[in-house]
């Protein structure tokens, strides 16, 4: 009986120690493990121009425009606190739209514009049929 209790205590202690170690490691990792920087992060600690980073946030409504060459898109990414202008040459993913989440891979140029090589659309946790979405916001969601 005592041996069993000893093993139980040891197992629980081991579990506690592992969890504690993991939590410590994770809190240390917090910033490095982020998949992308938000515009507010860039404003707080601007990376050197030319460093490859990812920028994530919401595509500001009304900010998307095509350049005269037809393949370059300009838009603004915002996170509610700051905004960053982005330019991208190439084909946008289907789910890229104004007011939706986006992750851009690329680098800041010296003027503070983010030059993207890749654009990924970020999906949020909301799933709904088109009728429901249309009733919520009738803007661009019914164009499909």
């Amino acid at each position: 009986m005592t041996a069993k209790h000893q093993r139980l205590t040891l197992a629980l202690l081991a579990l506690l120690a592992i969890t504690g170690a993991a939590l410590l490691a994770l809190s240390g990792l917090r910033d490095q493990a982020a998949f992308f920087y938000a515009p507010a992060d860039l404003r707080r600690a601007p990376p050197a121009a030319g460093t490859a980073i990812r920028l994530g946030g919401m595509v500001a409504r009304g900010s998307v425009s095509k350049a005269a060459d037809g393949v370059t898109t300009r838009f603004v990414v915002g996170d509610g606190q700051a905004t960053t202008p982005v330019t991208y040459r190439g084909i946008l993913p289907d789910l890229f739209r104004e007011g939706s989440g986006v992750v851009a891979e690329g680098r800041l140029d010296t003027a503070g514009t983010f030059v993207a090589d890749t654009i990924l659309a970020k999906h949020d946790e909301r799933y709904m049929p088109p009728e429901v979405a249309g009733a919520l916001h009738k803007t661009e969601t019914l164009e499909r």
Partner: protein
């Protein structure tokens, strides 16, 4: 704890497991079939994702069982280490193969969904990377448990590994909350679901169906392991 002791007896376990297995299996398969049919024909497409939203009816159960499988494996490992029940060791090893398979299915269905939705098959974000790690940890457990058995070990080392791997479960769960990730945050939380009811309901069928199917596979593997041990014991008696 009399209930654990009672089920730890292989003969009594088999008496329960043998009739239970076909029930779990066939009810599970029926629920999966209903869920798949409803998910493919009876629900609307998503306003943004379109038809690819239907992958969620498989993706969510595989993610749940990939992680739930490891929880079961860890509980069995603790039970084995503390109470030394040989059945707990057999249960942990029986869970590892379907657990690894479901973790793999979770990663592949996620990749298939990610291509049209995000525009990429794979990115090293917190959620995807931690789930991939869980898959590798399953494989490591399988290799370790086999090596331990071949060496004639008593299964204590794989059980310790089973407890250690549990660290990944909260990391996977909270990766989308702690860090910026490409993967979206949790849709279904205690406060409700961000998935509209019209899209959500077949998930209940596939989720419960795959869970019963998983349990049936684990019971089958445990019975096979017990039968194997019996054969080996008999052979040893013949040789002696």
């Amino acid at each position: 704890m009399p209930s654990i002791h009672a089920l730890a007896n292989p003969a009594r376990f088999l008496k329960v497991a043998r009739p239970l297995t076909p029930w779990l299996f066939w009810v599970g398969v029926a629920l999966i079939a209903i869920g798949a049919w409803a998910g493919l024909t009876r629900t609307p497409a998503d306003y943004l994702q379109g038809e690819s939203v239907r992958i969620l009816y498989i993706h969510v159960p595989t993610a749940w069982l990939g992680m739930g499988g490891w929880s079961g494996l860890a509980i069995a490992s603790v039970t084995y280490l503390v109470w030394r029940h040989p059945l707990a060791h057999i249960a942990a090893r029986a869970i590892a193969v379907p657990g690894a398979l479901f973790a793999f299915l979770c990663l592949s269905t996620g990749a298939i969904w990610g291509r049209p939705t995000w525009g990429t098959w794979w990115q090293w974000d917190g959620r995807l990377t931690s789930m991939l790690l869980l898959f590798f940890v399953y494989l490591a457990y399988l290799a370790l448990a086999r090596a331990d058995a071949e060496r004639g070990g008593d299964g204590r080392i794989p059980a310790l590994f089973g407890i250690g791997g549990t660290v990944l479960l909260p990391i996977i769960r909270y990766s989308v909350v702690w860090w910026n990730t490409l993967h979206q945050g949790p849709s279904i939380t205690v406060s409700g679901s961000a998935i509209d009811g019209a899209i959500l309901w077949p998930l209940a069928f596939t989720l419960s169906g795959f869970t019963l199917f998983f349990a049936a596979v684990v019971l089958m593997r445990m019975r096979a392991a017990l039968a194997h041990a019996q054969v080996e014991a008999r052979l040893r008696r013949l040789v002696a």
